[in-house]
Amino acid sequence: MTKIKLENISYVYSPGTPYEVTALNDVSVDITEGTITGIIGHTGSGKSTLVQLLNGLEKPSSGRVLVDGTDIWEKPKEISKVRFKVGLVMQYPEYQLFEETIKEDIAFGPRNMGLDEAEIEERIALASSFVGLDEELLEKSPFDLSGGQKRRAAIAGIIAMKPDVLVLDEPAAGLDPLGRDEIFKSIVKYRNETGATVVIVSHSMEDMARLCDELIVMAHSKVVMQGNCREVFSNAGELEKIGLSIPQVTKLMMLLKEKGVCVDGGVYTVKDAVSELAKLFKIDH
């Protein structure tokens, strides 16, 4: 079932000035309920603009945003309800922490929802367990945390609102591999345990291939490809033309296939590649 539908969306920054920029140009996208959808594209292709339309932070210059089949801009007064339903973690979310303790900061969203204190406590505990923040960290000031911990605290601030759709704009940018894996793990955990829909923006093909069910490829303010990983990565030539790469394993497998080795060229995770190669050598691994 379609959770979010974008219909012929265009978005223009500073219209009518010399600094006018068309960030999105006639974009239509369907996001299926319960999936993890990845948005990839080079810098400036409009990814961040697109995700800010999903929860009504920005209003499209033209076109409609449908969440659960209703146009979110039909009742502009109730736009904050959409923001609780579609939780957006912006890029570098740790810069938005402002409370004295991590705990209070996570409580900011739920408190704005008007929940009672008992419920808020429960949500803090739940959200911090999802992102793997220890109890003792909750009482600390954001200044005392490491970069990765701050990032996870900020994500917990959104998860605490229990959004139906969790949208993350480059959640792993600027983190070390360990921090990155921890973040992705908690995102997958949230999806698996709540059945929420997840949208992730990234330009790491490897991560996207590993995590996502569906991919949306953006270039020059447009959506150029949409489909599952296998479909998207089979267009290696086109992806390279817009400055994106395909996962290293896919590249390797395609090369092998080209050389006449009998393997599946559409494999995009290391795990699948290993079993594919094992088949070749007739070994069990």
Binding site: S14, P18, Y19, Q52, N55, L57, S80, R83, F84, G87, L88, V89, M90, P93, Y95, Q96, L97, F98, F108, G109, N112, M113, G157, I158, M161
Partner: protein
């Protein structure tokens, strides 16, 4: 692009855009003097034409310029009315029990013209065609002689430049923080004043933290490059007067001289003795 989107700089390809910023400061001053020297009808006609010429040459759309005049329209109307009803002299004109004088009409019109030319002159030379950074650079050089009497011109200019450089960055940052807090359901528009003031905390705290962080980083970066103030410092973009600078200054000086001549050579300037300006 974003580092100049602050203020009113209007990017275009015109000779005025290409002038040395020092020249533009001088031209703006000359133009202000011109508008005050004007007294006779001939002088003001010349002033109107010069304004049109400057606008045309600068390639700034009329609409943009009118927008900059809009905020002072009320003041201009107020000034015009004062002149109209309070200045006496010349031919009497009674309409509906209210007596106005021809001299009143003249001063009303000319005082408005002066204000418009002031705005257009300073606006076009100093804000529309010059980026704030260029302008500080120009002012620093132009007033460099003040260093001799121990005024830290370079330091002031550096402070200005840094402030100007960071205004758009901080504005962008503010936008991002506002969006991030809105995404968590923050509401800045409803509720009592106290509530709305409280709603600013989630914006101000991260904004201050990031401003201090940026200041720290900038200070370290400057130290790393051995910044030690203006002493013996050379410039990447050395300002140099070119032919166009001399020609434009010459034209402005000639214009000013012309206006003064008109005043001296008894061309009637009928009602000036005790106008408001």
């Amino acid at each position: 692009m974003k580092n100049i989107s602050f203020g009113q700089y209007y990017p275009a390809e015109s000779i005025i855009h290409r002038l040395d910023p020092r020249t533009k400061v001088i031209l703006a001053i000359l133009y202000i003097v011109c508008s005050f020297v004007c007294q006779s009808a001939i002088g003001f006609t010349a002033l109107i034409f010069s304004m049109l010429a400057i606008i045309l040459i600068s390639k700034i759309p009329i609409k943009t310029i009118l927008r900059s005049i809009k905020p002072v329209i009320i003041i201009m109307v107020f000034m015009a009315f004062l002149n109209l009803f309070l200045v006496k002299g010349g031919v009497e004109l009674t309409v509906w029990k209210i007596t106005i004088y021809s001299k009143g009409i003249y001063t009303a019109v000319t005082s408005v013209l002066r204000v418009i030319s002031l705005i257009i002159g300073t606006g076009i030379f100093l804000t529309y065609t010059t980026t704030p950074i260029e302008l500080t650079d120009g002012i620093e050089q132009l007033f460099g002689f003040l260093k001799k009497i121990k005024i830290p011109v370079h330091e002031f200019a550096m402070m200005m430049t840094i402030a100007l450089r960071f205004i758009p960055t901080l504005m962008e940052e503010t936008d991002k923080i506002i969006s991030a807090q809105k995404a968590r359901g923050a509401d800045f528009t409803n509720g009592s004043i106290v509530k709305r003031a409280k709603a600013l905390i989630p914006i101000l705290v991260p904004l201050f933290i990031s401003a201090f962080r940026r200041a720290d980083e900038l200070a370290i970066a400057m130290e790393c490059r051995c910044y030690r103030g203006g002493e013996g410092r050379t410039k990447l973009h050395v300002l140099r007067y070119r032919t166009r600078d001399f020609i434009s200054m010459f034209i402005f000086i000639a214009f000013l001289a012309g206006l003064i001549l008109i005043n001296c050579f008894g061309v009637e300037y009928p009602f000036i003795e005790n106008g408001w300006f």
